[in-house]
Symmetry: C2
DNA sequence: CGCGAGCTTGACGTTGTTCAACTAGAGTGG
DNA sequence: CCACTCTAGTTGAACAACGTCAAGCTCGCG
């Protein structure tokens, strides 16, 4: 595995919406015509695990977290950025229930595509089906990397990895303003809020980052990358 | 989530090979004709992460672990039982590389199906493609449950969950002989070898299980189920 | 009979969570 | 304009769960 695949741990790189490229113009027109656009505010639920997944959700604008819940506990599976699809795994289920919950981090606009229409298009157009298979595979690979990191790295490794992912894959800049609370960062990195604060402070003391409120700038890229690698439990 | 979905955490319930039901007789015949049968001994590598995935692997007999590796560390994604497919996530990749390693726990016989043939069949037969999508979705859902447990439960919860999964989904009996070393159990449950031993001993002292070498019998099912639920960090 | 791998046990150390107290800033109402 | 409150952020101390280490044990096999 190369080092740039490692930092895909919190999101997926490929734009899922590119799967629509394999549709005919006519099929694209049907989707365009039938899709519905909806907006959610910060913190609102876009999809609720266990609810009926009548639609596949395409993130058009904004930022959302995809999380698996059980009881009071949850884990964050990934962050969804514009171009990502949510709800594909409901296709497996005859009842078509959402297998996870999605919540907006910031104001988020989505397009809703009827699940039955989606299924119909897969049946009609096997290239489209193949494109969906590719997306599912990619999500699967990202999940492997994500959980590898959460299970094998210690707290500073998890956090460094998250920062690199934010910088490289979400904001595409070494300086960015995190629209997340410390608690949300903690949830994402799989550590406690207090550990986030202490670890960020250490990073700053070690001149790896600078911080001003929610704005973070990564000044030493090699550092965090090494920390990701060294932040594994046996090494 | 109901309690029986919880215990799918170490394997997948649906027989993947059922996807071949959506093929025409002619297509089935092609697969039958072209597939190759291979056997692996205990501990041997069936698929190596990063190697060229020229074939999709169907487990015919035996038991294998599917693991994601990075450096010296690894995590076990799932256990593959007869009827399961390995290598589907390579379909996403133009280079068609295995995204994980598979190793035989015991003597394992597999059927190899050419990846290009597999792709061709998806293109020819969209119902088959849809069946593959269902499998990928199911694997994705299983992975969510598995990692939820590994990240949110403490050691006794992880181990109880594993025993229930072994009993319910792999051996279909409350008494079974584990073909695994303590170290392999530890790797699967995501805890240390010593913790496995201590925790199993506790389970025995609490009359939840009886043990005789590698043979384990679950005598109190409610106990482990409760432990799974209580074995979460905040509750 | 002796060797070695896997198993077991106890002691110890470390990581990171939890708890509690304190601070800062934003919004509210008198 | 100033208390008041509420939330998010921060800090320190104590604790608990587990992993690690080291040493002994057991059993199968040569």
């Amino acid at each position: 595995m190369t080092s740039d695949t490692r930092v895909t741990s919190c999101t997926v790189l490929q734009k899922h919406c590119s799967c629509f490229d394999s549709l005919t113009d006519e099929q694209k027109a049907i989707i365009e015509e039938k899709q519905v656009v909806v907006s959610y505010k910060k913190g609102e639920v876009i999809a609720r695990q266990g609810a009926f997944a009548s639609h596949i959700i395409l993130i058009d604008e904004g930022l959302a977290k995809v999380m698996y819940e059980d009881g009071n506990e949850n884990i964050i599976l990934r962050i969804s950025t514009p171009g990502s699809l949510i709800g594909l795994s409901s296709l497996s289920d005859n009842n078509k229930l959402f297998k996870y919950t999605a919540k907006a981090y910031i104001k988020t606009t989505v397009k809703l595509i009827d699940t039955n229409l989606f299924l119909e298009l897969i049946r009609e157009n096997s290239e489209f089906g193949l494109a969906v298979i590719r997306i599912l595979s990619e999500i699967s690979n990202q999940k492997n990397e994500r959980f590898f990191g959460l299970l094998n790295r210690q707290s500073f490794g998890k956090l460094a990895d998250l920062l690199l992912c934010m910088s490289g894959n979400i904001f595409h800049d070494n300086k960015f303003e995190l629209p997340l609370s410390r608690k949300e960062i903690a949830e994402l990195a799989g550590i406690s809020t207090e550990s986030v604060i202490r670890t960020l402070k250490n990073f700053q003391a070690d001149n790896l980052i600078t911080m001003d409120g929610k704005t973070i700038e990564i000044i030493d890229f090699d550092g965090p990358v090494k920390i990701c690698q060294l932040g594994e439990k046996n090494s």
